[in-house]
């Protein structure tokens, strides 16, 4: 019955489960690396997985016959090795031999070697798993359609499984569960001999041991969680996994939270537990005061808008640990709506609010802030945004992480929700060289211009404390009485008021003196042309937009030589580590894929005339596919709320859709012309998304999550379906014209796929998502115009 579409045999189940395990493992690794290090390693993991698949293709090219000789035994062993390595690799990555640290990559050569070792270590499960899949495809060519279908649907299910699993389990456990899935798949190939039984049992013991006793991931020693745990008598009180990021709560007798407290405050600062997401500090939950009661937040620059006037309705976005709620309560706000996307944090806040029964004017909404902003129609007197960077600035570790809350488009939407005299406020730490305050200032000012405020200098003030700058942007110009109130507040708090219109220009820095005159630099942002400042400033301080929502990215590639001259090569990462690491992983994986995929294929004899065409055809497919996948992952973070949901959903849907396309290509194999034109459908959708993706997402973001997931499947699936036609069609054409070129085609496709995931991240940082979508649409022209079978018919 195998070969019939009516039944699904053990082989199909085996392939489906194995595929699910591989994708689940990949996504669990992405999460694990986000916890241990930072988010930018997501691209590295995706590339490593593809490197494993590419290397497997190379192995099959040379050893296919030998491996097929003992197919059942080899399959059993390969899947068993995949299961064992899936279980052991994350544990081995914690060992001092492999554990690298982002911070040390540019100062320690040992860590550079360790990151390479980690790449190879992570590659093993993908290599053996992909070998097993490839071997099955090679063995059961007659049944390839059904097997390919099982492979892609299994992958899709794996992605969805990890999305659900991450609600309940920490990433280390998730890798263990992936290994368990693999073991299930392996048992279906059990040949029944004693040795194989012993191997299976041993493998099972290893997987279960890792699953039950898996060590905790070793978090980078430079993450704030690790530093806090080093304090005397520090205790990890709470830890909870979640796709939005694992939450940790630490207590220590000397742990206090009072972000940039005014020096005029002379009261106590209580010991409070500190909260962390994926090991990064997000502060403490301060006691919620009764309305009008002074709190620690009354002595911070965050209190600026409340010093101007008592707001009626306040909207607090990305509330975090609720410090802005404390400020609003102290500021006698009438009604407070606090939005927090993280369910665990929202739960903590809810419990804390319940402790004070006198507080009855706070509504807590557990949803994505941007989605809430699009859905809600209430007009507010104050919209408060969260603090954007870490204490004293950071080394740009979040450089490639998207932030859709502080963008020109988001700010414009917020202006629409403000009352006539309403205000928007945001605080950031003052960094060196000055970057965050300038980028945020530029974004606010650009948002104001876009909204229609012609003289934003009359609407904006900045309050500078010893470490922070708070912006307050008012819908109507600041009145002189309001400025006087602010001056009084600043004098009491020992802050400095910076105003930007001529009438108040006599106000200058008094209490907090820095080398860089922040006020002067921010003033330059009001120039409508802005060409001078943006061009001449040695960091990228261009306003953040939905198309380039990289608030923490400042490095300009053209100024790298200058920065290197000043800081030295080991010093540049202090300015922006995250972006440089993306480049570094791109270089490492580029080298690795040359050695593991491309170089071995040069040994093959291939037809010269088809070789370059093949390169263009399959290279374009590898590049285009990964560009689309990465851009969708980034765009849907905005839509689905976080990177885990977005990565899982996009990878699952695109695989299922392109798998369906590939299957259909098989049915239409006699009509090659039609199949060759299929990528045109993908191009049409990609061009349409270039023009309309963001508006579509913005206008449907308020819908329930499940509806958004369905819309995601449609948006991702439609081009994915047409994209799926090109690969089997290309292989079919090669099979007819030049079958000896197939390994070369496979290798080129893998090579471009490996480097394109990191390259897509870099290109979107430099030029924006829309530009990368357009590039992918352009490269999909190649499969249409290149004919790999120009009339010559060779033996198949």
């Amino acid at each position: 019955m195998r070969g019939s579409w009516k039944s699904i045999g053990p082989l199909e189940w085996c392939i489906g489960v194995l595929s699910a395990a591989i994708i689940a493992f990949q996504l669990a690794l992405v999460q694990l690396m986000s916890v241990m290090q930072w988010y930018h390693f997501a691209y590295m993991v995706i590339s490593i997985a593809l490197l494993g698949f590419g290397s497997a293709g190379t192995c099959l090219t040379f050893w296919k016959k030998r491996l097929l000789l003992h197919y059942d035994r080899n399959m059993f062993l390969l899947i068993l090795v995949t299961a064992i390595t899936m279980a052991l690799v994350p544990v081995a990555a914690q060992s001092s031999f492999c554990r690298f640290d982002s911070y040390l990559l540019f100062t320690s050569k040992t860590d550079l070697v360790k990151i390479v070792a980690t790449c190879f270590l992570f590659m093993f499960p993908f290599l053996s798993g992909a070998l097993a899949l490839g071997l099955t495809f090679a063995k059961h060519t007659a049944n390839i359609g059904q097997l390919y279908c099982a492979n892609l649907f299994g992958s899709g299910v794996g992605g969805l499984l990890i999305m659900i699993g991450s609600l309940y389990f920490l990433p280390m456990k998730l890798t263990g569960f992936s290994a368990l899935l693999c073991l299930v798949s392996c048992s279906l190939f059990w040949p029944g001999r004693k040795l194989h039984t012993f191997c299976l049992l041993t493998g099972g013991c290893i997987v279960f041991a890792v699953l039950l006793f898996s060590p905790k991931p070793v978090i980078s020693q430079y993450k704030s969680l690790q530093k806090t745990l080093d304090m005397p008598d520090a205790l990890l009180e709470f830890e909870s996994p979640h796709p939005y990021g694992s939450v940790q709560v630490v207590s220590a007798p000397a742990l206090r939270g009072a972000p940039c407290l005014s020096l005029s405050y002379n009261g106590p600062v209580a010991v409070k537990n500190s909260f962390f997401i994926n090991g990064n500090s997000i502060g403490s939950i301060l006691p919620f005061p009764e309305s009008g009661q002074t709190s620690l937040m009354s002595y911070t620059s965050d209190f600026t808008p409340y010093a101007v006037r008592k707001p009626g309705k306040v909207l607090i976005l990305d509330t975090g640990t609720g410090n802005q709620i404390v400020a609003a309560l102290s500021g006698r706000a009438g009604e407070i709506v606090a939005v927090e996307p993280h369910p665990v944090l929202a739960d903590f806040l809810h419990k804390e609010l319940k402790k004070n029964p006198l507080i009855n004017n706070v509504t807590l909404e557990q949803t994505d802030s941007r989605a809430f902003l699009m859905k809600d129609v209430v007009v507010y007197d104050l919209i408060s945004l969260p603090m954007t960077n870490s204490f004293g600035g950071n080394a740009g570790l979040n450089a490639i992480q998207t932030n859709y809350l502080v963008t020109v488009d988001s700010v414009t939407e917020m202006f629409k929700r403000l009352s006539k005299g309403g205000m928007l406020s945001i605080t950031c730490w003052e960094d060196y060289p000055l970057r965050y305050p300038l980028k945020i200032g530029a974004t606010l000012i650009e948002g104001a211009y876009k909204y229609g405020i012609n003289f934003p200098e009359d609407h904006l003030v900045a309050v500078k404390s010893w470490g922070t700058i708070t912006y307050a942007m008012k819908m109507s110009p600041f009145k002189s009485t309001e400025i006087e109130k602010l001056q009084k507040f600043c004098k009491e708090m020992l802050f400095d008021l910076i105003t930007f219109n001529d009438r108040n220009s006599e106000v200058s820095t008094v209490y907090n003196i820095s080398e860089e005159d922040a006020g002067l630099l921010i003033s330059d942002l009001f120039d409508k042309e802005k060409t001078n400042l943006f061009k001449e400033y040695d960091f990228n301080i261009l306003p953040s937009t939905d198309n380039q929502p990289f608030l923490s990215r400042f490095l300009k590639l053209r100024t790298l030589p200058k920065l290197r001259k000043i800081y030295g090569i080991s010093g540049v990462p202090y300015v922006e580590l995250g972006y440089l690491i993306t480049w570094l992983t791109l270089v490492i994986l580029f080298m690795a894929s040359i050695f593991l995929i491309l170089l071995p294929l040069f040994r093959l004899k291939t037809r010269r005339d088809v070789k370059w065409k093949t390169l263009l055809y399959f290279g374009a497919l590898g590049m285009g596919y990964m560009f689309v996948e990465i851009i969708f992952i980034n765009s849907f973070i905005f839509y689905l709320g976080n990177a885990v949901y977005s990565t899982s959903a996009v990878i699952s849907f695109i695989l299922i859709a392109s798998g369906s396309g590939s299957l259909l290509a098989g049915f239409f194999r006699k009509n090659i012309k039609l199949c060759r034109c299929a990528p045109a459908g993908a191009i049409l959708f990609l061009v349409f998304y270039f023009l309309a993706l963001l508006p579509i997402l913005k206008n449907t973001i308020f819908l329930p999550f499940i509806v958004r997931l369905i819309i995601t499947s449609l948006i991702v699936g439609l081009p994915g379906f047409f994209m799926g036609f090109a690969f089997p069609t290309g292989l079919l054409m090669l099979d007819r014209s030049s079958p000896d070129t197939i390994p070369w085609a496979w290798g080129i496709n893998s090579f471009l796929s490996v480097i394109s995931s990191a390259a897509a991240a870099i290109l979107s940082v430099e030029f924006g998502f829309r530009c990368v979508l357009l590039i992918s649409a352009v490269v999909y022209i190649f499969p249409i115009i290149i004919n790999l079978n120009p009339g010559k018919k060779c033996s198949s």
């Binding site: 640290d101 911070y103 040390l104 540019f106 100062t107 050569k109 430079y222 530093k227 080093d230 005397p232 000397a254 206090r256 972000p259 940039c260 407290l261 020096l263 005029s264 405050y265 002379n266 009261g267 106590p268 600062v269 870490s390 204490f391 004293g392 600035g393 950071n394 080394a395 960094d431 060196y432 060289p433 010893w466 470490g467 020992l494 008094v510 209490y511 907090n512 003196i513 080398e515 400033y537 040695d538 200058k562 001259k565 000043i566 800081y567 030295g568 090569i569 080991s570 010093g571 202090y574 300015v575 580590l577 570094l584 270089v587 580029f590 040359i594 170089l599 040069f602 004899k605 291939t606």
Partner: protein, 279 residues
């Protein structure tokens, strides 16, 4: 065609390696007083310094060391001349004190030979002894005088306290890690610094019994400046404190109390090279 590729590939690899090499090379450059070459002549110098780094390369044994046969006096002289005076520290009392304090007695014996190197060194419990220049710079900026009392938050090895003790009347120093506090106390006692008083406690509260202080020196960064420390600072007194997270470019900040007003002044940006910590 295949041969052509085989010829091209090594050339290609060499190009890639040559592009990579500068990135991988770990050459440190002197960063002091480098003018940022922008059109506006914006100056962004950063001191390549290490102050309270919390990592070590190897296992560290703390404890009082026996008096070494080598007193490292020549190395000490050279350290002051090149690393401190050479970088512009002019405060005579500071220079004399830096020449007097035997830095090698404040570090673990296994790294004693590196005592006078231009870098911080691990002292155990995730703490380090600061780079000599930073100790001197912070001391100079406080302009300590003979009759004054100084409060230090973060004793560590006790080296900074010893440098101050040679200049001022009394030094009060607080260490949060009990083991470090105990070792530093014994070490300073053996070395004869009887005007240094150490207690193991949370530095947040300062040392109220001996307040007010003429100067306060804090050697760890926090997101806030503890109010008790401001309260315990004399009118006209100065506090020096670092601002920023590790591995960012941080500021050394001066807080000056002038009656009701408190002025903060960011002094120099510094960057702190991370080391791997052994656990």
């Amino acid at each position: 065609m295949q041969n052509k590729h085989l010829k091209v590939l090594p050339t290609f690899m060499i190009i890639i390696f040559s592009l990579l090499f500068p990135l991988l090379a770990n050459t440190k450059q002197s960063l002091t007083n480098v003018v940022f070459a922008s059109q506006e002549k914006r100056i962004w110098p950063v001191q390549e310094a290490q102050l309270w780094q919390t990592e070590s390369d190897s296992a560290v044994h703390t404890g009082i060391m026996p008096i070494a046969a080598n007193d490292y006096s020549k190395q000490r002289e050279k350290m002051v001349e090149t690393q401190i005076e050479g970088r512009g520290v002019k405060h005579q009392a500071t220079l004399i004190s830096m020449k007097m304090v035997e830095r090698h007695r404040f570090i673990p014996k296994n790294i004693e030979s590196q005592a006078y190197a231009d870098r911080p060194l691990p002292i155990g419990y995730g703490q380090t002894i600061s780079q000599p220049y930073i100790v001197a710079y912070m001391t100079e900026k406080l302009e300590p005088k003979a009759k004054e009392t100084v409060l230090e938050i973060g004793t560590g090895s006790g080296y900074q306290a010893a440098v101050l003790a040679n200049i001022v009347k009394e030094v009060y120093t607080i260490e949060i890690v009990p083991e470090l506090g105990k070792t530093a106390k014994e070490r300073l006692k053996v070395l004869g610094y009887d005007n240094v008083h150490i207690k193991t406690a949370d530095g947040y509260f300062g040392w109220n019994e001996h307040a007010p202080f003429d100067n306060i020196i804090v050697t760890c960064a926090a997101g806030y400046i503890p109010p008790p420390l401001i309260k315990q600072l004399k009118d006209g007194g100065k506090m020096i404190i670092p601002v920023g997270t590790p591995f960012s470019i941080q500021w050394l900040m001066m807080v000056e109390k002038d009656g009701e007003d408190i002025i903060t002044r960011k002094l120099i940006p510094v960057r702190f090279v991370p080391f791997r910590r052994s656990k």
